[in-house]
Amino acid sequence: MEPVLKAVNLKGGYLLGSLYASASQQGSYVDAVSDVSLELFRNEIFGIAGESGCGKSTLIKMLYGYLEPPLVLKDGLVYLYTKEGKEISITSLSKERLKREVFWRHISYIPQSSMNVLNPTMRVRDHFAEMLKLHANMSKEEAYKEAGKYVEYMGLPIDVLAAFPHQLSGGMRQRVVISLALLMRPDLILADEPTSALDVINQQAVLTMLRDSQESFKNTIVIVSHDMGVHGVITRRVAIMYAGRIVEIGKTEEIFEDPLHPYTQALIKALPRLGDKAQRKGLSGHPPDLKNPPLGCRFRPRCPSYGPQCREETPTLIEVKPGRYVECWLYST
């Protein structure tokens, strides 16, 4: 399998400086992503799951390479492999060069809420045209024509092009944003909770659109969602995050059928199933404060089956069988 992105030992988080923090928080650091390594392959839909605050959005911002203060990258490398066979080191390029050469051509991003991400004073067609002009050096007329063809191809009604964002429904806006992200045929698309603001019907439509477009463009889509249902419907592989660390990676069916990490087990057990009337049990306790993470395994305070080792040493992600990784002392002896 051909890799499209490799992340090696990513570390980063939020540095609460004078501008953003109250006096008591002065100079504290939120360890949002701690030592994450990840490999993504061409032509797959990959999921990142975990409860809110576990660092999944922070992780994909780091993969994308656009860090705004107070978010800082402390350590680690991210490589992107393009279909032309080029290797791009995202972590070592300047923001300006990323903007010019990488964003949208090779990697694009679908933000958490699409409600306000389109310019309210610009027609939808100009959002497409400005990207085409920038990255494909098209003239205005060419760009409009191309946008028309493309929007039809993506299955959107042609009259969205002439509309202003406020005239579109939430679901339609989200589909416009997704089309925008796929416009330049990038190798990798990072989608941060693409469905969480939508109702069930629109969620379905958006997920179908993502899956269909992935099938026709053969690119890689990363979907970040707290909703295990979304991962069950669309992703091929999924990574489970807890408190800034990836605790398990594997094929989606395998994770659902045979979760290995105690956290994943709790997560899957909490899912409702048809016909099962038993009371769902949630995990007791709270995720740790990432300003002050616990020593050893970060899940240990809530873990039903921890041993003495878990208190002192942080486990590492190990491959228990081909393509299946888990970070827990239960599986490494």
């Binding site: 903007k99 990488v102 309210p120 004073t121 400005e130 509309a163 202003f164």
Partner: protein
């Protein structure tokens, strides 16, 4: 899914037009009520003042005519309050404010009408310059908020913003009268106007430079700058601007199409709300530079107790300012698509 209809635009225009007339009407009513509420025998007081200052100019007959006019304007004819009010309204809408005292018997209205183009010319040009440069500077300062020149501009703005226009005019006068005597210090024109030619126009512009500057400086570096800077900071934190940066769009493009474009809408409102104040300020600037506009006329009228002329100045200024705001309202759909297509 799409509800693009022209109806909402028409609706918008209709509401604004009704509001335009309603505002003028309520402004006039307001004036009437205020003047009527004056606890003194205003008419006899005015007539007395008049005979004291410029006695002999008027024959008894015209004084009596004037007295009648004044009683009508002040709603003191002794008829029912409603009738008084209607008489006042009729006079206002026929622009009949009676004769002026300062150049008797020229109607006050005509006097004001002659001066109005000067004021409107000075004001429209300097307000346009103020608004455009203020917006550009404010947007740039907001975008580069950590740069040194931004801090300098901000300190200047904070000290200029609270200073009224006429104080600025006096400061400029102190500066240019004694330190750098290059500008004419008063008047509106210093050649004899024979025909409209380039020399005449240049002369007029030359004379209006200092008054204009005293309107532009506290505006472009004051209210316009400060409000557009605040708005820019707001727009920069909006999702759409941040997503534009995420998409790799160059800074210049984001500044123009995203930031500047989106502060235009609220900045038009800020301008509309400031016009009344700018107009009042400009009157004083005119007095200080002896610029031949409505302000200088009002000065002479106030000095002579010429209530007819003052009333005409007030009502016509109300109409002028409301019209300017109405025209801005008509521009609104051009900058805000949410009104055009709802």
């Amino acid at each position: 899914m799409l509800h693009a209809s022209k109806k909402s635009l028409l609706e918008y225009l209709a509401t604004r037009t009704i509001m335009y007339f309603a505002t003028i009407f309520s402004g006039i009513t307001l004036t009437y009520l205020l003047v009527k509420a004056m606890p003194v025998d205003a008419v006899e007081n005015i007539i007395f003042g008049l005979t004291q200052t410029v006695a002999g100019v008027y024959d008894p007959q015209s004084i009596n005519k004037l007295r009648e006019d004044l009683y009508e304007i002040f709603g003191l004819t002794g008829k029912s309050p409603l009738e008084d009010y209607l008489i006042f309204i009729r006079r206002v809408f026929t622009f009949n404010f009676g004769p002026s005292f300062i150049s008797f018997p020229t109607p006050a209205f005509e006097l004001v009408l002659r001066r109005l183009p000067w004021t409107i010319g000075l004001l429209s040009v300097s307000t346009a310059i103020t608004w455009i440069t203020g917006n550009l500077l404010g947007t740039i300062a907001g975008y580069f908020r950590t740069r040194k020149f931004t801090k300098v501009l901000e300190s200047i703005a904070i000290s200029l913003y609270p200073v009224p226009y006429y104080i600025m005019a006096l400061i400029l006068m102190l500066l240019f009268a004694f330190l750098i005597p290059i500008f004419p210090l008063g008047g509106g024109i210093s050649v004899i106007p024979e025909s409209l030619n380039l020399e005449l126009i240049l002369n007029i512009i030359w004379h209006s430079l200092l008054p204009a500057l005293s309107l532009i400086l506290p505006g472009a570096l004051g209210w316009s700058f400060l409000s557009s800077r605040t708005l820019t900071l707001e727009v920069l934190s909006e999702d759409y601007t941040r997503y534009a940066e995420f998409r790799g769009l160059p800074g210049k493009h984001v500044l123009r199409r995203y930031v500047l474009r989106n502060i235009l809408v609220p900045q038009v409102t800020v301008l509309a709300l400031s016009l009344g104040g700018i107009f009042s300020g400009a009157l004083l600037t005119e007095v200080i530079f002896a610029y031949p506009g409505v302000g200088s006329l009002a000065y002479r009228a106030a000095f002579a107790g010429d209530i007819n002329t003052l009333m005409a100045v007030l009502i016509l200024s109300m109409v002028a300012v409301s019209t300017a705001i109405y025209l801005l309202d008509l521009l609104y759909p051009l900058v805000d698509p949410r009104i055009r297509y709802r």
